[in-house]
Symmetry: C3
Subunit: 347 residues, 3 copies
C-alpha cells in the first residue's frame, strides 16, 4: 500500500534508496524558516552582507538544507520507526541558495535486530545532492524500525562511525570569507573565533514556546511524512496520546536560540553526533545552552576556524545552571536535545 | 457600507462582476502552500524536474490558482452566503507560474429563491485570468445567499451544467510532457495512467489535524474575506458557535493526502463537481480516499491521460473501509468533502 | 551576558546605536505578511497594477518596512522595557522592494527617570536604511525601561516632537502615480481623496481573532526578540501570566482591516502618533474603525493627497458605535490601539 513505508526486514546493507520528491528551495522557505525559528545569523539574513564577505548571494540556513534532505528520507526510512536514535558523521559540503533543487539518497550501512525481536536498528548514510549532482550534505542516522514479522531477518552489521568529524573536512561548507568586510555591528557581536575558550559555557537566555500549528507547518514544509507529527486523531489512541514535535524543529529552535552568545557562528559545518533525548510537545518551551568542546583551525584557511559546540536543548527549564546530567549520571530530566556540532566562525 | 457584500436581490443573470484585488503569485505562496498542506507532487516541487519534462519552470500548485481566483469572488459573491453548495464545470486552462498576476470575474448565470423566501441560490461562472488576459481557470459554483428583504425578487433561472467536463477540454492544463525524462524514482511511484483501473479504490493513509492558526493563515493568504473563518468573537454568538474552516483548505488537504497512491497525478485539470458535505473545525483530522471513476485519453496527446477521480474527504475517520454513503443512502457521517476531478497522469 | 539588553542607565542622549542584524526583504516575507494579515491594498498585491501606475514593481507593504526596522531595535532598546509608550514623527521615505536589505540605527534623543526611581522613559529616533544608505523610514518611539540600579542616572532631556508630520514631508513615500491607469474595479473602490470628508467615521466591519502561533510567527519573522511574545514558560510566572501579542501585530491587523472603507489608501506615509492602549492576547478578536482627521494636498503633487486618519483598534468589540473614550474621558475599555496616520490616496 502506498504510504505504508519499509519495515526492518526490508533494509539490506548496501542498498541505496533514491528518495522522492526533489524539491526546489526558495526565498519562500527562507521567510518561513525565519518565521518559525527567528534566526538572526547575519550571512543568511543579509544578502548585502553575504555578498560583501564572499558569497555569490545569501545562502539559506544550513538547517533548511538538513530538513529538506532529511524530509525526503522519512517515507522510505522512518515511517515505521519507533524512535530516531542518533546522528553522526554529518558534513555540510556546500552552501545552498534559493533556486537550488535538492534530492536525497540513503545507503543502508547497518542493521541490528533488537533482542525483543519486534524491531531493529537501521543505520543509513543519507546524501543530499543538488539536481546537478553536486553534494550538499552527508550524514548518518540510525532509527529503531518495527519488524513486520514472519520474514527472515538479516545478519547484524554495525557500522564504525567516527566520534568526531575531522576538521579538514569542514572547509567546503563556505567560500573564503573576506574578514575586512565582516562588520561586527551588523553580525551582532565582536566575539570571534579567538575569543572563545574550550570549556566555556554559554547561556542562550531566551525560550521559545512551541505551538501545534508551528511544528505542523514545519513538518509539512520539509515534506516530512511522519504521521506522529500531524495526525492528532491517530495519536490520541497511541501510547503517547498526542502529536509529537518533529525533532528537527527542536534542532532549529535550539540553533536559533544559540545566536545569543554565538552571534558570529555563521555556519553549521559538521554534525559530530546528536540525540533526541526526549520528545517535546506543543505548549513546551525550549531553552538552550552551549559548551565549547574544542576549537580547531581549518587546514589552509586563515579566515575561519571551527568551534566544536555541544548544544543542549532544555524543556521548560531556563539554562541558568547549565543542566545536562542528573545526579545519577543520566540525562537531566529537562534535557531534550544533545547535539555535538562543528560551527564555523571568522577569526 | 464597505465590506457589506451583495444580497440575493443584487444578483441579476447576465451581470459580470470584476473582482478586486488582483494578486501576484510568488514563490512565497508556493512555500506557504507547502507548509500548509505538505504537497509532494513532483512537477510543482522540483524546478529541475519540471524543466526536464517540458515546462519553462515549475508551475504553482493548481489549487493555488483556484484559491487565489476564488478568494477574490468572496467579497462580491458569498459574503452573505449561508452555504457554499457546489462546484461544477471547472477547467484549468494553463499553468500558472510565480510572477503571474491573477484577476477574477464572475458572471451571474442563475438565481432561484428558496421557498422559505429568506434566501436564494445564486450560480456564478468565475473566470480567472492572467493580467495579460490569458485565461487560467474557469468554473461554476453556487451558493445560498441571504435576501435583504423588502425588494423585488428576480425570476428563477437555473443553468444547465454538464455532469462531467469533456476530456477534450483538458489538454491546455499542461504542456507536452517528455516521458523520457519522467523519473519515477523522483515522482515517487512507477504507477502511470495505464496502471489504474476504473472502480479501483485508493486509501490515502495519512491524516492531518487542522489548527485554527493554519486555516486562518490560508484564508488570509488567498484574500478570502468570509468572516466565519477568522472572526472568532462574532462566531461565538452564531448558531454554529465557532470558526469554520475554509472549504478550500479541506480541498487542498485532501488533494495533498492523495499523493499516497496517486503520486504521478501531477495536475488537476478539471472539476466535474464538488460538494462541501459538512463543515470541519479546528481540531478535526482530515483523511481522504479516492475512487477511479473513469479514464480517458486526451485527443491528440500520447503523453498524458486523464483519470476521473472521486476524492472523498473524511473527518476523524481513517478511510480503511472507504466510507461514503451510510445505510440510509445519505452521506456517511464522516464525509466532509465529495469532489469529482479530472487528474492528468503520464502514460 | 549576550541577550541581556540595555538598562535605563545605559542610554546617553546623543548616542547612536547601530543595530544587528541587517535583513533582506523577500517575496517570502510578502506572502507571510499576506497570510498573517490578509491585506488587500492593490499596489502591494498586484505587480501588474503597480507597474501600470508608476512603480518599478510592486513594493512591499509599508508595515513590513516598519516591522523589519523596528525588530532590529528591540535587542538594544526595549529588551528590558516595561512598556512601549508611544510613536511620533514617523515618515516613510521611499518604497521598499523584495531584494532590498534593511538596516537600522537608533539615536537616543531623550531620557527621563520616573519618580519611583526603578525605571525611566527613553526616547529614540530610529532610522531604517537600505544597505546602500538610502533612508526608508524614520520615526521616534519612547519606552519605559527598567533601571539596573546602583548606577548614576543621567539628567532629564525631553525631546520636542511635532504633533503632526508636515504633509510636505510625505511625498517621497511613493513615485508619481499615473491616475489614468488607476483602475477602481481592481483597487476595490471608486472612492478617492476627494470623496472623504474631515470628521467622517468608517466602520471597518471585519474582526480577526489572533492565535498564539500567528503572533509568534510574526514576531520571529521580524527578528523581534522581546521574550514576552514567545516565552510562555517565563510569562506564566510574570504578573500578566501569559504571552503578550507584539504591538506591531495589532497595527498590521488594524491596517489590513481598514481596507474596508479605505480601499484606495494605498500607502502609509506618516505616523503622527500612536499608542498601544492595552495589550491583546491570543484568543482576542481585533476590530478597527477610522476617523478622518484632516486632508491635505501634497506640495507639487496633483496625483495623490494625504488623508490624516485616526485608526482605532478594538478588542472583542465590533466598532458599530465608534467607541474611543469612555464616559470618564479615558480610553474606552475595548480600545487597544490609537494610531494617527497620514495615508496617501489617489485624487
Amino acid at each position: 500500500m502506498a504510504g505504508a513505508g519499509r519495515f526492518f526486514e526490508d533494509f539490506i546493507v548496501g542498498d541505496v534508496i533514491r528518495h522522492a520528491t526533489p524539491r526546489t528551495v526558495t526565498e519562500g522557505d527562507v521567510a518561513l524558516y525565519q518565521a518559525l525559528y527567528g534566526s538572526r545569523f547575519v550571512v543568511q539574513s543579509s544578502d548585502a552582507f553575504a555578498r560583501a564577505v564572499g558569497y555569490p548571494r545569501n545562502p539559506v540556513d544550513d538547517l533548511i538544507t538538513f530538513h529538506v534532505v532529511f524530509g525526503k528520507t522519512v517515507p522510505d526510512v522512518s515511517l515505521n520507526a519507533f524512535a530516531n536514535l542518533g546522528y553522526a558523521s554529518g558534513r555540510f559540503l556546500r552552501p545552498v541558495f534559493p533556486g537550488d533543487t535538492l534530492v536525497s539518497t540513503s545507503e543502508v550501512i547497518g542493521v541490528r535486530p533488537t533482542s525483543k525481536g519486534d524491531a531493529g536498528v537501521v543505520w543509513v548514510r543519507t546524501r543530499g545532492l543538488r539536481s546537478d549532482g553536486a553534494p550538499v550534505l552527508d550524514y548518518v542516522r540510525w532509527v529503531l524500525v518495527r519488524m513486520q514479522g514472519g520474514r527472515p531477518v538479516q545478519d547484524t552489521v554495525v557500522p564504525e562511525l567516527p566520534s568526531v568529524v575531522d576538521p579538514s573536512e569542514l572547509g567546503q561548507a563556505c567560500p573564503r570569507i573576506d574578514l575586512e568586510k565582516w562588520d561586527d555591528a551588523e553580525s551582532g557581536s565582536a566575539r570571534r573565533f579567538g575569543d572563545y575558550a574550550v570549556g566555556e559555557k554559554i547561556d542562550h537566555v531566551d525560550g521559545m514556546t512551541v505551538e501545534e500549528a508551528e511544528h505542523q507547518l514545519a513538518t509539512r514544509l520539509w515534506q516530512n511524512t511522519a504521521r506522529v507529527h500531524f495526525d492528532g486523531f491517530a495519536q490520541k489512541s497511541s501510547k503517547i496520546g498526542r502529536r509529537l514535535v518533529y525533532g528537527g524543529h527542536v534542532i532549529s529552535l535550539a540553533r536559533s536560540l544559540s545566536y545569543n552568545g554565538l552571534e558570529n557562528a555563521f555556519h553549521v559545518a559538521g554534525i559530530n553526533g546528536g540525540r533526541h533525548v526526549a520528545p517535546i510537545f506543543a505548549g513546551d518551551t525550549l531553552y538552550a545552552w552551549s559548551e565549547i568542546l574544542d576549537k580547531q583551525p581549518l587546514p589552509g584557511r586563515d579566515d575561519v576556524g571551527a568551534l566544536r559546540v555541544r548544544l543542549t536543548g532544555l524543556k521548560d527549564c531556563p539554562p541558568t545552571d547549565f543542566p545536562r546530567e542528573g545526579e545519577d549520571g543520566k540525562d537531566h530530566a529537562a534535557v531534550v536535545l544533545d547535539l555535538d556540532l562543528w560551527l564555523l566562525m571568522p577569526r
